[in-house]
Symmetry: C2
Subunit: 228 residues, 2 copies
């Protein structure tokens, strides 16, 4: 039997998953403070379990703990964005350059992510579009065949995603990114890795600039009690 498939997860991990999804979907916005007792009550679990869950998420960087002051959804500063994109360039570019050896297994998944992205955009499902967009980039990292790196990259992606879901889509059309992703995929399949890396680098610069401009546009505060 497949033991790995069986529902075998601790409650604390499940609570962490629920909260993680609410953060990444934008339901819990950056800066939002979480109180243990109401949260435990609303989820039907004990306070200790909530504490374990928030401990997990704070180590993932999605929540920020201040001792005796509680936890709040993390807020990216422009410096954070800069740091994260520095790392993305540093990891994704070597990844595509290493794509020669281990391309075969990943390419179908890249294609699926690409098509999922295009369809989400056509349906104006921005949340899912962001998800597919970032999945596409995550798959690039897989070329490096390093599980620790993938896990680290996932954490980075979770952080940018937290910021991206807040982008106002009325002034930012994700559709225009379709040709770029498609071109990256084409260059990859064609083995033109140098060109692909160059395009990717440009794409990341663009993405960073867009996210940064959004963040400075919305002047958000330090520690609001509640948002939304």
């Amino acid at each position: 039997m497949e033991r790995s498939q069986i529902h075998r997860v601790s409650v604390a991990d499940q609570v962490a998953s629920v909260l993680r999804q609410k953060i990444l979907s934008g339901e819990l916005r950056p800066g939002h403070a979480l109180q243990e007792v109401p949260l435990a009550a609303s989820l039907g679990v004990s306070r200790n379990t909530v504490r374990e869950a928030t401990r997990i998420l704070s180590l993932e960087g999605l929540l920020k703990r201040s001792i005796h002051r509680g936890v709040a959804v993390s807020q990216l500063s422009p410096k954070d964005v800069q740091e994260i994109y520095h790392l993305r360039r540093m990891l994704e570019i070597p990844a595509v350059l290493a794509a020669r050896g281990s391309r075969d297994g990943v390419l179908p998944e890249l294609k699926a992510a690409l098509e999922g992205y295009e369809q989400s955009v056509s349906e104006k499902d921005w949340l899912q579009a962001v998800s597919y967009d970032l999945q596409f980039h995550s798959l690039l990292i897989r070329f490096l065949q390093n599980e620790r790196l993938e896990s680290f990259y996932q954490k980075l992606i979770a952080e940018v995603r937290m910021g991206m879901v807040l982008v106002d889509r009325s002034h930012d059309d994700p559709g225009r990114l379709i040709p770029v992703h498609r071109k990256i995929y084409q260059l990859l399949t064609a083995g033109k890795l140098k060109q692909c890396a160059a395009l990717l680098s440009q794409h990341l610069d663009d993405s960073e600039a867009r996210l940064t401009s959004v963040m400075v546009g919305q002047g958000w505060k330090k520690f609001p009690k509640s948002v939304g």
Copy 2:
């Protein structure tokens, strides 16, 4: 027991620190199982606090949780070593190549780590020697001026350190590494970054080979109840 040190940040974090140090010093060997109740009793804290601490360390990779089976000190497989050194090359080499701009602040610290290493070796304090060795490499990462990356690298270093402290020093003389570290430092101060990177790469290959050979030498088991 060790309550004397415990009173600054949260107790759970302090327990995590105590355990972390015991793991990294080799007092708790890979595979060693930790039981909540005895551990809580010996540290003078509650079971819940121990659970929070083990949660922290398991997310850092130092402990491994198996649901309903407890936690045990993580064991590196040869594949883990390979992965970690892949990442070390991938991070440290770009770091020295980026040393041109931000060299000044770090160089004194590098020199201090170098001298600390040499003195520890002369005193045959292997544990401290390993510590200074790894600190030297950690400082290289600082050239990239990226806090997230430093934190990730620290986690990697903690993992290799867990393996390194078990190396049998009677068959492995750390003193022979002194010239290498010194040369790396000299090339760095001279601005000969390409040469420095080449030497570093070679040094990492050597380090990986040494650690791997040690691990296969000691044929360790999957999940022993207790070691030592």
